[in-house]
Every structure is written in structure tokens, then in C-alpha cells.
Symmetry: C2
Subunit: 334 residues, 2 copies
């Protein structure tokens, strides 16, 4: 896409990968800009002590193994705030419901939201409901915007503080959300469940004891997207040991069957954490004490050998470059 | 609708009128509740000095005479914050774009958002973009969630402070937005333009000099909805002088042609203000000094003669009860 060229927006522009970045850089940022937005963090800081983060959830289907769009809309925004070192406190919810949607399905969605709201201890203080025509009257859906305000609990220094020798940790098994939605959409028999869960209590435990350098939850575009965001334009790269990345047997099997790299698939309940090497064993210890951190693993290291590049080494020693996904393998994943 | 009964959500449930209230009371409030939500204000207060307000904008068509969905999404949330006595400061934006939408149309929308953002002096500090299938591939649209955070500039005492004898003021001519969208949708030749505009600077002038008791912007459901929200369950009612309500010739003509009461139609650039009688002349004076308050008028009074009821007296002395609209005359008006 050239500047000034008219393009039609495609599903891939909503993938969270390279195409989304292009749309934001070429179109949105010409008009909507701020210091906070230009940092490309998962939230913006205001009045030095608050973080606000917004996300619209459009996952299709709205119910999937291990969760639903409501559950996801709370957890997703909680995790964005947590990644910024902020305790989630006040939420707003905007519902856009397609005409014909069942009130019983809506109640099931709201009920699972209530559980997560109570688990995290947040308060919903503003809400809005709109109704629009259904795109498929046989299967009306809904969209949920959730915007969360958190108070900074610990300041996270961010990517400027990351340096060669630092350790890259993931708090849980990857690929679960993406493959759960995909297998459900394809009517495959599978036991894979989405990892949708709110990570604040896990992250709080960590922040209480460890000076974390950087965190981000690898949602759209998976590990491949987030790891590349860490090294983009930096004087460091990342080396990943593929054999250390926690991946369930089921996800591995399905990924081989479908030819989809689990490192490129969305997660909704794990966090990438970067710490200095000396803290790494303690981080793993703290994370594994929490039910949401059982599979926490050191998956790689920051290196100055290949700046701006993420390299994955498989268990047989072969190395490949891990690129940012162009578009998400599955549209409307979250 | 009975408790426990399964219903299909209809467009009228998104009207902002009685049906929306029913959906919120019977379904949403069973699961999502808080002190702030139960006040049914246009925003929630947190940490005693901030207000947050969320709104999703789904207006169809996205371009209409006098504005577009982007313009509207900024002004609508600015006005909700202003009605709570809060200075709009930090915004988040969530875009849900239908596949096939033109980037040039998107740029036009973003450009008008930028103008309003600069006019009000707010900062967009978090944003998100998703892409979904179009409901009508020939005419893809988009939805915008805007969530605004403001700092309380003056505390507004609210409905508990309202009493018999108080004066009801509207800051501008009513019905413009609703009839602009409607005439555009029906391909009628009309000069009516939406009143979409951000009211913070107008309201700030007022708050600097007058102790305002209550404010609300009469959007979905128009004056009829908002005036009834003021008297609902209260020991006072409101008398409106229909001849004093500022309505343009064009709106009056179209309302007679179509048989739609302009008091039931959405506005996007005027505010209902309740003050004690002694302040009323000064309020009108202050409002009319601002370009957005040229048509400000005293339209009625709070009375203890008919608690909970809004009565409209026409210029010939005939009286009628003004009810809450059941559903909006036009779906997807904002």
C-alpha cells in the first residue's frame, strides 16, 4: 500500500500482525496520535499513576471450548493492564448486539463475565448497549468493547531497559486459544481448551518480588508477533529454544496436522516476561506456585548477535528466523 | 418480558428508551452491577475526582448531513463527561471495521475526529482496531467505541438536589440530529443538519459562574426520554411549555410531514440543564454568548403537582403527558 492509495480494508488488517501495523501507521496515525499511542504499549498512562487500555472483542464463534467472548473481554483487558504493571480496578463495557441474539446466550456470557470480574476484584462503572442488524440472521453474534483503568502497582522500565543476556520467560503453554477456536470452527474433535484467564494475581506475585524489565501478553499473532515487537528497531535480538516453549501434545498434534506454527497463534492467558539472568530461576519458582503459572518456562535469551531479529533453534540444532505473521492464520480470533 | 423468559434481542432494545431499560434491568443488571452503574448516570466516578464514560457508536449511514460517525463518537462522549461536570481529558478508541470499507472514507472520518479532538483538547492514549465481515458487502460500515476519562471540574449535586420551582433549560434547538439522519436515510431533500458538537467549552463557561443542579444530554429518545429520567420515581414532575422549546422551521415541517414528535428524537449537541429559578436569566445570558448556545431557552419548570410525570402544554393551552418512547423511531441513530 502506497501513501494516498485507496485500499479496501480486509480481514487481515485486523489480524494484529504486519497488516494491522501498516493500517495503523499509514492511516490511523496520520490523524490520531499521542506520545502514549506512539509507544505502541498495551495501554496509555495518565496522570502518572493510572493506565487505561481498550480492546474490542469480535471472536467468532462467541462460545468456544474453554471460554466465550464475555470471559475473554474481561481477561484480555485485565492482562493488558497487568502487562503494564497496573492493578486492574475500573472497567467500562460496550455491548454491540446483533438483532436476534438470544437473551439466554447473553445471560451465559454475562454470567462468565461476572465470575471473572469477581475473581479479579474489578468494578464496572460505565456501560452501554447498542443493537445492530445481524450479518447472518441465522447466527446473530455480538461484539464487546472492554476498557480497563488500572493503578500502577510497579513501574515497568520497558524495552529501553532490556539488554543482551536477559532471559525471556513465558508463563504458560502457548497456542491453546488459537487452536481451540480453530478446531471448534472446523468442527474437529479435539480436547484443546482456550487458555483465557486473568493474570493479575499471578503477575502481582511476581512484581512483589522481582524487578521485571518488560511484559506483554502474546495475543493476536502469538509469540511470533510479540517477540518481534520486543526486538523491532533495537540493538538486540532474541534467541528462542523451540524445545523449551511449553506446548501441549494436543496443540503440537493439531499444529502439525494443519501446518500452522503454534508460535504464530493467539494466546489469552499467558505473558512473556523479560528479566535479568540472575532473577530467572526465582521467577520460574514464583510463577509455578500459582495455578496459572504451572507451565512457566525460560524459553530464550536476549542477544546482541542479531539485532532486531528473532531466531528459533529447534531441538536438533537447526535455526530459523521467526518473522512477524503477515496476517493472523484465523481472522476474528479475539 | 418475564423473568427467565428467553427473548430474541431486537433493534428496539438498542433504542435507549423503555425497551433498552427493560433489557438492562432484566438481563444485564443480574450479572453486571455496581453503585456507579445503578445511578444510571452518563458516566461512573472513580477515586473521587475522575469520571469515565463509554459509548459505542453504530449510526447508519456513517456519513450524514452535518457530521459522521467519527465526529459523533468524540462529541457524544465529550458531552457525557460534560454533563457530569467533568473536563474531558483522556480518550480511548475502539474501531470495528467491516471488511471492504474504503481507506479514503476511513481517513475522512479520522480527519473529522482529529478536528474535534483538537477543539476540545483531549488526548487519545489507547486504541484498538478489529476487522469483521460486512453485513452488506455492497455497503460496508464501521462501529466506534469511545471511552472518555475526565477530571471533575465542578461537582454536580444531581437529581436529589432538584426541587419544585427549579427551571429546566435546553442549550440548543432540538431534533436536528435525528431528523438529519432520517431525512438522509429516506433520501428526502432537506437542509437539516445534525447538531453534533462538543459542549465542554459551553458547559465550562456555565460551571464557572452558576451552581448547576443537574445536566444530561438528550440523545437516544430525545427530550422525552431525558425529562422522564429526571422525574422517574421522584416526588416532583416537570411542566414543559411546548412553544418555548427551540425547534427549527425545517425540523417542525418534517416532523409534521412524518408524524414524528421532535421531542422524541435524538440530539447530539444540546444539554438539558436544571437550575434554581433565581439563576435562570443569567444561565440563558451565559449560554447565548457561546456559538453552541445561541438558541438556549427556558423550556419548563419542576413542579410538585404531578410527581413522576412530564406534562407538555402547547401554545393553545392543551396539556398532554410526555411519555418515555418505547423504542426509538429510528434504529441506529447514534
Amino acid at each position: 500500500m502506497q501513501r494516498g492509495e485507496i485500499l479496501k480494508i480486509r480481514l487481515t488488517h485486523g489480524s494484529g500482525g504486519k497488516k494491522t501495523e501498516e493500517l495503523i501507521r499509514r492511516v490511523f496515525s496520520k490523524y490520531i496520535s499521542s506520545d502514549e499511542l506512539s509507544r505502541m504499549d498495551d495501554g496509555g498512562i495518565f496522570d502518572k499513576k493510572y493506565v487505561v487500555s481498550t480492546d474490542s472483542f469480535v471472536v467468532n464463534p462467541v462460545f468456544f471450548p474453554g471460554g466465550n467472548i464475555g470471559d475473554l473481554s474481561i481477561c484480555g483487558t485485565v492482562n493488558d493492564l497487568a502487562s503494564m504493571g497496573a492493578q486492574p480496578l475500573y472497567f467500562t463495557l460496550g455491548f454491540i448486539i446483533e438483532e436476534g441474539f438470544d437473551s439466554s446466550a447473553l445471560e451465559e456470557i454475562l454470567s462468565s463475565m461476572k465470575k471473572r470480574i469477581e475473581e479479579v476484584g474489578i468494578s464496572v462503572i460505565s456501560a452501554d448497549t447498542k443493537v445492530v442488524e445481524a450479518r447472518d440472521p441465522e447466527r446473530p453474534g455480538l461484539f464487546i468493547n472492554s476498557t480497563g483503568i488500572g493503578r500502577i502497582y510497579r513501574e515497568i522500565p520497558g524495552l529501553d531497559a532490556v539488554e543482551s543476556g536477559d532471559v525471556v520467560i513465558v508463563t504458560g503453554a502457548v497456542g491453546e486459544h488459537g487452536f481451540a477456536v480453530l478446531s471448534h470452527r472446523l468442527n474437529l474433535t479435539s480436547t484443546i481448551k482456550s487458555d483465557t484467564r486473568p493474570l493479575w494475581s499471578l503477575i502481582k506475585n511476581l512484581l512483589d518480588r522481582i524487578p521485571v524489565k518488560f511484559m506483554r501478553d502474546p495475543t493476536r499473532g502469538g509469540l511470533a508477533q510479540t517477540l518481534n515487537e520486543i526486538v523491532d528497531g533495537r540493538n538486540y535480538g532474541i534467541d528462542i529454544e523451540e524445545g523449551k516453549v511449553p506446548i501441549s501434545e494436543e496443540v503440537r498434534g493439531l499444529s502439525e496436522l494443519l501446518g500452522i506454527d503454534p508460535l504464530e497463534v493467539a494466546n489469552e492467558g499467558c505473558m512473556i516476561v523479560v528479566v535479568s539472568e540472575n532473577h530467572a530461576p526465582k521467577v520460574i519458582n514464583i510463577l509455578r506456585q500459582h495455578p496459572y503459572g504451572q507451565n512457566a518456562s525460560i524459553i530464550g535469551r536476549v542477544t546482541d548477535e542479531h539485532p532486531g531479529v528473532v531466531v528459533v533453534r529447534n531441538p536438533y540444532g537447526a535455526r530459523r528466523i521467526l518473522y512477524k505473521p503477515i496476517g493472523e492464520k484465523l481472522p476474528r480470533i479475539c
